[in-house]
Amino acid sequence: MATEPLADTTALQGPAGWEEEAEREHVHGLGPWRLGLRRLRRNRVALAFGVLFILLVLSCLAAPLWAKHVAHTTPEENHLSDTIVIDGKKTNVVALDGVPIGPQYLKADGEFFLGADPNGRDIMVRLLYGGRNSLMIGVAAALMTTILSVILGVIAGYFRSWSDTVIRSLLDIMWSFPVVILGVALGVALARGGLQIGPINIPGDSLAVPIFIIGLVYIPYMARPVRGQVLSLREKEFVEAARAQGAGPLRIMFGEIVPNLASTVLVFFTLLIANAILLEAALSFLGAGVRPPNPSWGTMIDDGVERIATAPHLTVVPGLMLVLTVLSLNVFGDGVRDALDPRAKVRLEH
């Protein structure tokens, strides 16, 4: 892969620029990725938040373990008429007047650690499973956005002609809608009948629906900057050289240009996950995202809002998990961006 220093230093410079940085830092012989890793290791704040994010992910991944071995229930199971023993005394999970049990922490050996919801479901179990759903939707949606944005951005930026016009117009139309409004509209429309893509039928209550919606609405936010970079990269000598060697458009796009986009894409990807998780929470809160009885942090916040005066933890705890996850992703994403190129100005413009 040929490299060239980019004349425009406001964009990411790519590997050639990294060589200049390496020279400045007196670490000759280090490749650009190792240099980036070295910078990242020095950024203690970013690392700390990265570790926090990993811990949050691991705790959510451990949801089945908690559910099976500690709480002895599932996230959907109602315990309306059940009782538990607390301090040797039998207590209704949901009282006759409909008030559910509050946080028990370790009083009942971990069962109903954070209490129960009005249906008698274990809140801690739903919180962890909700985290799995929220994270999965966030990552999958970000992945979908990234793949489609790179494809569209590269095609638009490389060919320019009518394909650029069409793609750019589509992106502009999508960009003109506020993300939440577009997401809610799609969510409500797809909730009833589901999604039909050719022979594939996705039911309305599937998690694939919010993944599709969120993945779709964020495409313009990444595709446009990618296109901008491709417009610049296609003029470089290494692209000319590849063309002169007989490389076709596909080879040039995905063999020469896309690798030079790697660091941009990586930074966008981490930021996108955070935004996707937030959007999922917003859509679920508004009833247009994850469908019951599947939990997510957004649906839990929505359920808890009704009882905020008497049981604020139902809203605050999932809200806090959401804050910590998005914060840690954003800080870590900033750290990755700074590590790969301190002069880069990559951000998701709303």
């Binding site: 008429s81 006759l96 008030v99 009005p118 249906n119 309305g204 019951p292 808890g304 809002v305 809203t315």
Partner: protein, 562 residues
């Protein structure tokens, strides 16, 4: 402060404030309106009340939910109606409304003659004519209203529907605008037809009212109030109708001048707003976790009333797996009624009978030990139910459970889905908006398998409940027989008993037998009967101005400020 810190703080504040903002809401509440001035003002002023979801329709021909009926019966008065005196026994009897007197009924029970009162005007000042009655009935039929079934017994009603013309003629209704005489001919005698004539569906509207849903611009009517503003899913406003005539003490006018009804999804917020005075009344009871506080601290403006209602799960016997009798029986056996009752914060008494307390033919024993599926107050026999489902060969079948997003229907639906899962199905809830729920499950195209349903009496006659399980009432849209129950023996029994002109003890007992048969055949799965509540703000004169009507629940015309 650096960029990182600033961004982190913004994120933190945004997320933590999300719940507070959501709980407070962003609505432009205008508070409770002006009061009655100094001293105890019984008449005048404005109040603001709330409902949890938008009425299905704000059109008298179409509405069939408490949300719509409770306001609209004060806007559209039929030929016959019920008094509004506060005497529960008296108010349950049909009296003349816009008709001069009770109908003269022919010996064979098939002809009803009434005369319209003279000098009546609609809220827009236009005169009320006798011929308006036929058009009012025509709208109900033409729009395929949920109430159409009540009027299909009028001679020529089916022909009118088949012709498909709004301004068509219903042969069985003759009206003379000069004399005000109205004659109604029925195909067969109907012992509850006076009650049917007192339903809000046939609250008179002008003869040129179009045959379309007028929710956004309700037509004029004759009632103590008129609807002056309708913004679906936000609010609607009723104001005193200056053209309401003096019809005597039994049918008084309204007290307050203006009633603004806001649609507020969050029941907790509604309760908080009533406590703080931002709202003057909430239609639904306060939610479970705030009820103890309301009962303890605001007992002087809170009251629970037992209603003639039944909560049940419908099971569509035209759709698998509920087309099998043993499956429906298994659901009745396995349904955890005490568990579902908890979701209503103690406002539902577990039950088994389809006819509720207060209805002729109701047998309390059927709601306890005589229930064929086990005492509804006891835990269900889940093992037996599971075995029955396995033996029926439907274990593992996919089942979609329909419910709406009004509290606690959504929670009940999720709990029911969980219970069906425990019985061996793969059940998932489908929660729809309350404003469209009943239209959706009442559509043959939707073909819902099972789901949440409830019924509050339209009038104190068992026919009003059996209409929900009458094979003759099935229709392709706005169907109220959600399970498509079409049992020939029950349909025949309903038809026979409905011809009886008087509700004697013997007739009541026969309705009771029919109720028992319905329950034993497991066409539906009743699980309880509900109490409703009246909860008002400090501004309201709760002791003197909070009538609860046996047919139409909270009587807004009685509301007044202190």
């Amino acid at each position: 402060m650096g960029m990182l810190g600033r961004r982190a703080l913004v994120l933190l504040l945004a997320a933590l404030s999300m719940s507070v903002i959501a709980a407070c809401g962003g609505d432009d509440d205008d508070g409770g309106g002006d009061g009655g001035g100094g001293g105890a003002a019984k008449s005048g002023g404005s109040i603001t009340i709330s409902q949890t979801s938008q009425p299905d329709f704000l059109d008298p021909a179409l509405t069939y939910t408490v949300n719509g009926i409770e306001p609209l019966w004060l806007v559209y008065t039929p030929l016959l109606t019920y008094s509004r005196t506060g005497d529960a026994v008296k108010d349950a009897l049909v009296i003349p409304g816009l008709a001069e007197a009770m109908p003269t009924i022919s010996e064979d029970g098939k002809t009803y003659e009434l005369t319209l009162r003279k000098g009546l005007e609609y809220s827009d000042g236009s005169p009320v004519k006798a011929s308006d009655f036929e058009h009012t009935v025509a709208r109900v039929l033409n729009l395929e209203s949920g109430g159409s079934a009540f009027y299909l017994g009028i001679t020529g009603a089916q022909d009118y529907i088949d012709a498909g013309k709004c301004d068509g003629d219903i042969k069985g209704i003759d009206a003379d605008d000069k004399t005000g005489k109205i004659t109604i001919n029925l195909d067969a005698p109907n012992g509850s037809f006076s009650n049917v004539l007192a339903m809000w569906f046939v609250g008179l509207v002008p003869g040129d009212t179009p045959c379309k849903n007028l929710t956004e611009d309700p037509p004029p009517g004759v009632g103590p109030y008129k609807v002056t503003e309708s913004v679906p899913n936000r609010q609607f406003v009723m104001e005193k109708n200056a053209n309401w005539p003096d019809l005597g003490a039994d049918l008084p006018g309204g007290n307050v001048d203006k009633i603004t009804t806001k649609i507020v999804k969050n029941a907790q917020r509604q309760a908080q707003d009533v406590i703080s005075g931002e709202l003057d009344y909430m239609q639904d009871p306060p939610p479970a976790d705030i009820k103890p506080e309301v009962k303890a601290q605001y007992s002087d403006r809170y009251r629970e009333i037992t209603t003639s209602s039944t909560y049940y799960m419908f099971m569509n016997n035209r759709v698998a797996p509920f087309d099998k009798k043993e499956v429906r029986e298994a659901v009745n056996i396995g349904l955890d009624k005490p568990a579902l009752a908890r979701l209503f914060a103690g406002e539902v008494a577990p039950g088994c009978s389809f006819l509720p307390p207060g209805q002729p033919g109701y047998d309390e024993a059927l709601d306890t030990d005589d229930c064929p599926w086990g005492n509804p107050n006891d835990p269900p026999d889940i093992e037996r139910a599971r075995q029955m489902i396995e033996d029926a060969g439907v274990a593992g079948a996919d089942v979609t459970v329909y419910g709406n997003n009004d509290d606690p229907s959504d929670k009940v639906t999720e709990a029911y889905a969980d219970q069906l899962t425990k019985l061996g199905f793969k059940a998932k809830p489908r929660i729809l908006d309350g404003g469209v729920y009943f239209q959706t499950i009442g559509s043959a195209k939707e073909a819902p398998q099972t789901g949440f349903a409830n019924w509050f009496q339209d009038f104190p006659h068992p026919k009003n409940f059996f209409f929900l399980v009458d094979g003759k009432s099935i229709q392709p849209t706005n169907n109220q027989n959600f399970g498509n129950v079409d049992d020939p023996e029950i349909t025949k029994g309903i038809a026979e008993l409905n011809t009886e002109p008087e509700m004697t003890d013997e007739i009541a007992a026969r309705w009771g037998e029919l109720n028992k048969k319905l329950v034993e055949r497991a066409w539906i799965a009743p699980y309880g009967h509900r109490k409703l509540a009246t909860f008002m703000s400090e501004r309201m004169d709760f002791d003197n101005c909070s009538r609860f009507h046996p047919v139409y629940f909270n009587d807004y015309s009685s509301f007044c400020l202190k």
